[in-house]
């Protein structure tokens, strides 16, 4: 099966010590590799204000990671761990590969159109070399 790409964002309590944050991340990494997935990148966004209160908290420590896996088991396991983990107050997993595929398609489509367009602009183009030639003797 083809590989899937996921975005995983989770929010920790803002008072979580740095060591605990790293611990949560490393356990997730372990869990992911165990299930045959791979964590592409981990990005700590740090403390941010949340748009609404979650568990009476107004702020949270955001962590964003990109996960690659060929099946959904990895996500299931990671979400289970996040649910169990105490400092985690919120999480969200989004599958992105299909959107990226669509994005690629659109990009290719646009490039093809862009490649077709020069033909139209070629017609007036010969005028400019002529102008250049005309300009060359004077220069």
């Amino acid at each position: 099966m083809e590989e899937r790409l996921y975005d995983l964002i989770f929010i920790l309590r803002p008072d979580t010590p740095e060591a605990d944050i790293d611990k949560v991340i490393s356990t997730l990494e372990h869990a992911a590799t165990e299930k045959g997935g791979k964590i592409d990148s981990v990005n700590k966004w740090g403390r941010k204000r949340m748009a609404y209160r979650v568990q009476k908290l107004r702020e949270g420590y955001f962590v964003y990671m990109v996960i690659r896996s060929s099946h959904g088991e990895v996500v299931k396991e990671l979400e289970r761990r996040l649910k169990v983990s105490d400092p985690v107050i919120k999480y969200l997993t989004v599958r992105l590969d299909e959107e990226l595929k669509r994005q690629d398609k659109l990009k290719r489509h646009r490039e093809r159109r862009a490649a077709r367009r020069p033909r139209k602009t070629v017609a007036p183009a010969p005028a400019t070399p002529g102008a250049e030639q005309a300009a060359a003797p004077t220069a």
Binding site: D7, M50, A51, Y52, V94, E99, R102, Q103, K107
Partner: protein, 110 residues
């Protein structure tokens, strides 16, 4: 401001000359002549994502999505923002995702 007024006037004049149109807004004959009566012209809105040639709308960038929600947290309709149908579709999905991860509010807090 001055530019806007000039644009509006030119639009109005165009509407008057096109009075043969099938009863469009402001297409009434003699409409622009009577000044101060129903002489408003809507500015043509362009989809902001089409201008940027956006292939997808990132739900993680709350600052991009923020202009498309109301104070109360509602998603603004297409007719208000001028977003094209395709991008509005992507936009709603992005906004809903952002709401889920507390980047955007579901409703204003009070």
């Amino acid at each position: 401001m001055a530019e806007e007024n000039a644009q509006q006037q030119s639009y109005g004049g165009g509407g008057g000359s096109r009075s043969s149109g099938p009863g469009g807004p402001g297409g009434r004959p003699g409409g622009p002549a009577k000044r101060g009566k129903r002489n408003f012209v809507r500015k043509k809105k362009v989809c902001r994502f089409c201008v940027d040639k956006a292939d997808f709308i990132d739900y993680k960038k709350a600052e991009i999505l923020a202009p498309f929600i109301q104070e109360r947290g509602k998603i603004l309709p297409r007719r208000m923002t001028g977003t094209c149908a395709r991008h509005q579709r992507w936009l709603t999905v992005a906004i809903k995702r952002a709401q889920n991860i507390a980047l955007l509010p579901f409703a204003a807090e009070l």
